[in-house]
């Protein structure tokens, strides 16, 4: 393909990515930008050019040993829900902007530790970026027409320009805000898009090779299995191979957490914790798809080319060999995508570390504390921009000078190994509060030194001098110091060997020094917060233990330097609102110190933030015991508060209950008064009648006609009867209502009671000419008090008879069965109950207004007593409102 055409394609593609990133920044709140799929795809940044081209290379050379690189992440992904969520939560809380910041904060904003982590990352990642540039350069040469063309100076090397373009891209989208903990949605979106491109085109070439160039997977397998040495390509190679596998898997497990680009996309760019739920299955699926055709593409390449071309680039050579330039271009673009995302994000991550953890804390703090806020912001951005360019240029220089010595796989693994030196400080530090900064520093230095001696040094010496003397004979010719087989361990590959030694010594140092040294109170404080992130959200700003003197005004002046007057003012207002502190407070407390440090962390890193704030406050030393005590207290306070809240809720409920009871009582009291009043009135009426009549009868001067005398005597008799009935009913009702008259409930036939009550009212009915029909005379046993049932039935029947028309009265007695109760009804053909009375007829002394003025025989308590009796049977009594041809009263008794 023509060089210029190729360059045009590259520029067009970059422009397109720029557009995607730009529109994502523009629509940073849209659901297209914020969703779990974009998040999961962005994790695909793990697949760099190393995966894209290198996997094929490894399979060609050493068979399936490429797999552990993917096994680690697959094993790690289910743990994300616990591990990564914790890390994300802490990072968000503290506005952490890089892995260096994270580790430095865990060990009490240790400035040196942050710088050390930054240096380690630079060592590991710079060559890795170079390697990516090399892949671009090599694939460019394969694609270009003039394959023999060798660039003679940097200025006519297309890779240089590509590197510069990538730096511009990273600068543009990576340094828009001085606060590095802000999200970079444009970059993440472009990474997600690139993840699709590289996967898609890799699958396309896989399908092309497997099904177009060959006749499917079986065909390739059959052909390749006939070649010699084939068996070595599909075996793990015994125990030694197994150990190598194990170590490489562990290495990639660590890398998926700690690689700066991986930390960037998975932790810092995470919008919502719940995305993790999708990522834990989407990401392994992505890796699986990526590796689906690796074996077949490699075998296809081996069958076609043997060792005549670099097996890393089989994916390009295969289509080119068949004159399919278009397909080769797609593959090229896929690989290019892998490179761009890796380079851009790695550079961004490194630049933030470089500026916030190395340059600013070690060189520019004084300047900042004097500078103007706007200038400071520009300054911070510029430091980061320069860092980005420096990193990419440095990577380019490494590539340009040592290009021949870099193989995709070896450099990639070396990067993993160097980064993995952070693992003990990171992982153990998350769960063990004793881990100290001193131990962390020592263990990282020791681990890195061991790595340097056992891998970097011999690799470099061999690459540049070609001599294997150091490797073969060891330092000073001491056999047990041979870098690839320290102390006689010679069955491991150089990388796993270096991993074994460095990780063992690293972890050992970390544990020993942590146990030996006590650590500053401040780091114990942060250790508690990181380890106990369960209580973390509730502790928040209060979790920082701090004692000393500080003026709000001083702290504000520091904030103003970085945030500007307005933002600082606003942030402080939010703080004061949140904790309900008066705005004119003069002395700052621990919460404000912590809050202010967090505000600055995003811009200048946690160590610098701490140093700046410490500069304006007079801090007192606190003993470790005191720290732990205060932490314990704040936990206790939370617990006590919780208890208090619960108690208060209980009290409120009790008070409400009491109030209700009081209202009930008062209601009852009033009811009782009314009841007594009514009773008195009801009693007085017959007594008045008797007294008046007696007075008249007793008057000897009176010549009362005999028929009137008889009438008066009869009235007196009636009134006496009424009086005694009334007294009886009142007592009966009172006893029932107070539960004094316990019912004698037995399982017995209701018909017996019904028959008895019919006998009672028989003469009354006969007198009025009312016919009573017992419609359902079958026996049925229900638990009840028979005397009381008779009382209820009699009452209902008496009432019915009373309201029946003379001579034409008809009363029907019926029962039907429900699932758990019997329903007995008394129906008459009288004039029915007026609607306004229906709700009141069971009230005490309620008498219908519509009743005949001639007071009926009742005491006004009959139905109230019925209701009481039925309710004491746990039943119910009511008026059937639907029935219009008379009155129907129904009650039910439960039999279960």
């Amino acid at each position: 393909m023509n060089n210029y055409l190729l360059i045009s394609i590259i520029i067009l593609y970059l422009a397109f990515l720029f557009l995607i990133a730009y529109s994502a920044e523009k629509r940073s709140r849209s659901k297209w930008v914020n969703n779990p799929i974009v998040y999961s795809l962005s994790l695909g940044i793990y697949c760099s050019a190393w995966t894209y081209y290198g996997s094929v290379g490894i399979v060609a050379k050493s068979g399936i040993s490429y797999l552990p690189i993917y096994l680690g992440p697959v094993i790690a992904s289910p743990l994300w829900i616990i591990l990564l969520r914790k890390v994300i939560r802490i990072s968000k809380q503290h506005k952490i902007s890089s892995i260096a910041d994270f580790i430095s904060l865990r060990y009490g904003n240790n400035r040196f530790l942050g710088a050390l982590v930054t240096v380690v990352c630079l060592f590991g990642i710079l060559p890795y970026i170079s390697l990516q540039l090399k892949a671009v350069s090599e694939t460019f040469e394969i694609m270009a027409d003039e394959t023999s063309y060798v660039s003679t100076s940097i200025l006519d090397d297309s890779t240089f320009y590509i590197a510069v373009l990538l730096a511009i891209f990273a600068t543009f989208f990576g340094t828009q805000k001085p606060d590095a903990s802000e999200k970079h949605k444009g970059i993440v979106m472009s990474v997600a898009f690139e993840s699709i491109v590289k996967l898609l085109f890799f699958l396309v070439i896989g399908v092309y090779v497997t099904f177009y160039l060959f006749d499917g997977t079986t065909d390739i397998y059959n052909s390749i299995s006939k070649t010699e040495n084939f068996s070595s390509l599909i075996k793990i190679n015994g125990l030694e191979g197994g150990v190598n596998w194990l170590f490489t898997t562990m290495l990639s497990f660590i890398a998926i957490f700690l690689l700066p680009r991986q930390f960037q996309v998975s932790v810092l760019e995470n919008n919502r914790e719940k995305y993790l739920k999708y990522a834990i299955w989407m990401f392994p699926l992505y890796l699986l798809l990526f590796n689906a055709f690796v074996l077949f593409v490699t075998w296809g390449g081996m069958l076609k080319f043997g060792t005549s071309v670099n097996p890393d680039y089989y994916t390009l050579f295969l289509p080119l060999e068949n004159n399919n330039v278009f397909l080769a271009s797609l593959v090229f673009l896929g690989g290019f995508s892998a490179v761009i995302s890796m380079v851009v994000v790695s550079t961004l991550a490194l630049s933030v570390m470089l500026s916030n953890n190395l340059i600013i804390p070690y060189g520019f703090l004084d300047k900042f504390s004097k500078g103007h806020p706007e200038k400071n912001a520009t300054y911070i951005k510029n430091i980061r921009r320069i860092s980005i360019f420096s990193i990419i240029i440095l990577a380019y220089v490494i590539y340009y000078n040592f290009s021949i010595e870099l193989s995709l796989v070896s450099i990639g693994l070396m990067a993993f190994l160097i980064i993995s030196q952070l693992a003990p400080s990171f992982f153990i530090g998350l769960f063990w509060n004793r881990g100290s900064s001193k131990a962390s520093i020592i263990s990282i230095i020791v681990g890195f030194s061991v790595t340097f001696y056992t891998l970097i040094l011999p690799f470099t010496i061999q690459a540049f001098t070609g001599s294997t003397g150091f490797i073969d004979h060891g330092l000073f010719g001491i056999g047990s110091l041979k870098p690839y087989s320290l102390f006689g361990i010679d069955f491991l590959t150089p990388v796993t060997h270096a991993f074994f030694w460095s990780m063992s010594l690293n972890t050992l140092c970390y544990l020993i020094f942590s146990l030996a040294s006590k650590g500053h109170y401040r780091e114990r404080n942060y250790a508690e917060m990181f380890v106990d992130s369960r209580n973390y959200t509730s502790l928040q700003d209060g979790a920082l233990v701090w004692k000393g003197e500080a003026f709000v005004a001083d702290i504000k002046s520091v904030l103003v330097k970085f945030l500007g007057e307005k933002r600082a003012e606003r942030a402080l207002n939010i703080f004061f609102e949140k904790y309900r502190i008066p705005k004119d407070t003069i002395m700052a407390d621990a919460r404000l110190i912590n809050f202010s440090e967090k505000l600055l962390t995003g811009s200048i890193g946690s160590a610098s933030a701490r140093i700046l704030i410490a500069g304006v406050v007079k801090e007192e030393q606190i003993s470790l015991v005191e720290v732990l005590k205060i932490l314990e207290e704040s936990k206790d306070t939370i617990a006590t508060n919780k208890q208090l809240r619960e108690k208060s809720i209980q009290l409120t409920t009790l008070t409400n209950q009491l109030k209700q009871a009081n209202v009930d009582l008062m209601g009852k009291d009033k009811q009782k008064d009314e009841f007594l009043d009514t009773v008195a009135h009801e009693l007085k009426t017959p007594i008045t009648g008797i007294r008046a009549a007696t007075e008249l009868l007793i008057d000897e001067n009176d010549d009362m006609p005999p028929e009137i005398r008889a009438q008066f005597l009869n009235n007196m008799l009636q009134d006496s009867e009424r009086l005694s009935r009334l007294i009886h009913n009142i007592l009966d009702f009172e006893k029932l209502a107070r539960g004094k008259n316990t019912l004698e409930i037995k399982l017995q036939d209701v018909q017996k009671g019904i028959k008895k009550s019919l006998t009672v009212v028989e003469s009354l009915a006969l007198k009025k000419g009312v016919i009573i029909t017992n419609k359902n005379p079958h026996k049925f046993s229900v638990p009840h008090d028979e005397d009381r049932l008779v009382q209820v039935m009699t009452n209902l029947l008496t009432n019915a008879i009373k309201f029946c028309p003379e001579k034409q009265g008809e009363i029907t007695l019926d029962y039907k069965l429900g699932n758990s109760h019997i329903e007995i009804s008394v129906t008459d053909n009288g004039k029915g109950i007026p609607p306004e009375d229906i709700d009141h007829i069971f009230d005490k002394f309620y008498q219908s207004k519509d009743q005949n003025t001639r007071k009926p025989e009742g005491s006004g308590l009959g139905l109230a007593i019925c209701k009481e009796i039925i309710e004491q049977h746990k039943g119910k009594i009511w008026v059937d409102k639907e029935y219009k041809k008379g009155a129907r009263l129904v009650f039910k008794l439960p039999f279960e």
């Binding site: 008045t688 007294r691 009549a693």
Partner: protein, 119 residues
Amino acid sequence: MSKILIVDDEPNIVMTLEYAFRKQGFEVFIARDGSEALEILNKAIPNVVLLDIMMPNVDGYETLKKIKQNKVLENTKVVFLTAKNKMSDVEKGLALGADKYLTKPFSVKKIVSEIAELL
């Protein structure tokens, strides 16, 4: 001849009062509740009304109010005769404009003399 209206829903009590007042030469009218009383009042225009309070439909208080509003009944005296004997009830009854407040149970002779005194 003086006219008296007895308003009460208890027939046995009404019967004794009716007998006693007839004997004293009163022309006696009887109503079983307030609404019946109001009907009779307009026609009979009695000199005195003996009024129970707790009655169905229109109670004694309502009846008294209606009587007080009626110009025709300007000279009609109203006496409450009721079982409600609390001080507050008595005060309420008199405040509404009743001429006397008598309570049940009662002595027939006393009622008769109280009424005679009033006229």
